[in-house]
């Protein structure tokens, strides 16, 4: 593995993932300071792509950069450097030229959730497991600000940090075949939202009418890593009307 110690800023090091991807490492543990930094570098590259840049994949502590070495090497003579090394140096220089800023962090996004009942069939199970009442669970789940550490698992699925540890509940032993889109669940010490219908083993405590994934929109995905969200309890009777508003008169 050709990881290197680092000279610049917040970059820990890098490693190659095959000959067409390099992963930049920002740290070695989950840290709320990292996702905004990753997003910062991702934006830098988006606005000033190097020749051959294909795409980036952000995760907890890493940004994987996929590139075409043929295009890169056709554009630049990189000498004896490996392409991975060249890209790492390139990013280090880009970062030094840019004043580090987190200006893009917008307000905390509020996600309305109908807790319990048909929308959160496992709320009672979580209550039994934690020894808390349903209303106490809702209170604790809605009183924290969650940071989106990364997106993954499903299109538009956020990995959230910040769940009150007292709400931790193991996932189901047998995954459910169909978890409806918008379901808010708890799995171990994590909480998350299913952006689309899929199989899943999380304990479902509620559901949001907010579309997290809508390919018809100019911005098809509501959430992104580095962003902060809060959950807000919503009356069950408002679910359908809210959903209608979000989707307009679309027939889907």
């Amino acid at each position: 593995m050709d990881a290197l110690p680092l000279n610049a800023n917040d970059l820990f090091g890098y490693y190659a993932l095959g000959e067409k991807a390099v992963t930049i490492v920002f740290g070695d543990r989950i840290d709320p300071a990292i996702p905004p930094k990753i997003r910062f570098v991702e934006n830098l590259l988006k606005h000033a792509p190097f020749p051959g840049l294909l795409t980036t994949v952000a995760a907890y502590t890493t940004l994987c950069i996929q590139y075409d070495p043929f295009v890169l090497k056709s554009a630049y003579d990189i000498g004896a450097q490996s392409t991975a090394e060249w890209i790492f140096d390139h990013i280090s220089i880009l970062m030094q030229q840019q004043p580090s800023q987190t200006e893009f962090m917008t307000d905390v996004l509020s996600i309305p959730v109908c807790y319990g009942g048909e929308y959160g069939p496992d709320l009672e199970h979580v209550a039994a497991h934690t020894g808390l009442s349903a209303s106490e669970i809702i209170k604790r789940h809605t009183s924290t600000t969650y940071l989106i550490y990364m997106m993954g698992f499903l299109p538009g699925f956020p990995y959230l940090g910040g769940l009150d540890p007292s709400l931790a509940t193991p996932r189901k032993t047998t995954p459910q075949q169909k978890v409806p889109a918008g379901s808010v669940g708890i799995a171990g010490a994590q909480t998350g939202i299913y952006p689309l219908e899929s199989p899943g083993g999380w304990q479902l405590i509620g559901r949001t009418p907010l579309p997290l994934f809508d390919p018809e929109q100019a911005s098809p995905i509501l959430l992104r890593s580095g962003q902060e969200i809060r959950f807000e309890a919503m009356d069950h009777s408002h679910f359908d009307a809210y959903r209608q508003d979000c989707y307009g008169n679309k027939t889907s």
């Binding site: 795409t55 907890y60 996929q66 090497k73 299109p155 995905i221």
Partner: protein
């Protein structure tokens, strides 16, 4: 310029080279499994690299040509036939209205790619035409192709027309030139897939690494476009650390807790938490896209540098091919 799928066959879908813009949002790349064959079929028609093709699995599809048009196909495991006459792969085919084509099984492999002028005309969904079933996006309404589907070519220029006429006048419906794939799957030998060490390769003992490189692995029947479960030798970890979810790519080989390697393919998730023992070299990933349950493979280690040289050589090859084909289209 259109075709009708009289029989779509199993798992047929519209694909291109994949959806790259939303990986950081958890949207898989998708795209064709055998991107080399896609490239050959598209180059034969001088299409853009991202032109959409039809990915046909196994050899059950039947197609009716609804208007005079140019097609090209490439892949493994089937030949396209006009009635009983097999048509050659890896080159343009001038087909007249009313022709009925069908795939006939032929040798190893299981995916055939059908290209047409400008690509097949379906809407772009989130930056790509690739069908991704789980999110119901790409292709025709995010679904597999069905019997009766009609698909149209995106482009038909005067150049296409004159090339079509030229082929018709030669009493053949195809030229004698073709694009070589450099691939030889006709031998009964087990294919050797070249890999580079993965970021967590040192989480495994030297013995496990050697077993990984010396064992024949069989593609399990629970394998699909997301990835292949490989049966052969279970790989045990020595480092039991917990890996924080991080990027994985098509071609990444992960070792889950049961020790059975998983080779990730086109529809794989964007991130994963299992140690990545190896990454398939880009030059050999398309070949993996031709594997089906029961097929066997060996892995061979090469350096990142060697993998890059192989990749660069392939790009130079296609650069030359493109110039050569340009000449053949323009010369009367």
């Amino acid at each position: 310029m259109a075709i009708k799928l009289l029989k779509a066959g199993p798992f047929s879908s519209i694909q291109d080279l994949g959806r790259l813009d939303y990986l950081s949002f958890g949207v898989p790349k998708a795209g064709a499994m055998d991107t080399l064959s896609v490239r050959i079929a598209n180059e034969a028609l001088r299409n853009a690299a991202q032109a959409a093709v039809i990915e046909l699995t196994y050899a059950q599809a039947e197609i009716e040509i609804l208007s005079d048009m140019l097609l090209a196909y490439a892949g493994q495991g089937a030949v396209l036939a006009n009635g009983k006459i097999p048509l050659p792969a890896n080159r343009p085919l001038a087909l007249v209205k009313g022709t009925r084509l069908k795939l006939i099984p032929d040798g190893m492999g299981c995916r055939t790619y059908l290209a047409t002028t400008g690509g097949w005309d379906v809407p772009i969904a989130m930056g790509s035409r690739s069908t991704y079933l789980q999110a119901k996006i790409g292709g025709i309404n995010g679904r597999l192709l069905q019997n009766g589907d009609i698909l149209c070519a995106t482009a038909w220029t005067t150049e296409h027309q004159s090339f079509f006429t030229q082929l018709q006048q030669s009493n053949r419906s195809f030229p004698l030139w073709y694009i070589g794939s450099g691939r030889n799957l006709t031998t009964p030998d087990i294919p050797v897939i070249r890999v580079v060490r993965g970021p967590e390769a040192d989480w495994f003992s030297t013995e496990s690494w050697h077993k990984f490189l010396s064992s024949a692995f069989e593609v399990d029947r629970n394998s699909n476009r997301m990835g292949y479960i490989l049966e052969g030798h279970d790989i045990q970890r020595i480092n039991k650390a917990e890996l924080l979810s991080t990027a994985v790519l098509p071609g990444t080989i992960q070792i889950p807790g049961n020790g059975r390697p998983v080779l990730l393919m086109a529809d794989c998730q964007t991130t994963g938490g299992y140690p990545r023992i190896a990454q398939v070299a880009a030059i050999d990933l398309p070949l993996c896209g031709q594997l089906k349950p029961g097929d066997q493979i060996y892995f061979q280690e090469i350096s990142t540098k060697e993998a890059e040289v192989l990749y660069l050589d392939e790009q130079y090859y296609f650069q030359k091919i493109r110039r050569a084909i340009d000449l053949r289209y323009y010369t009367k």
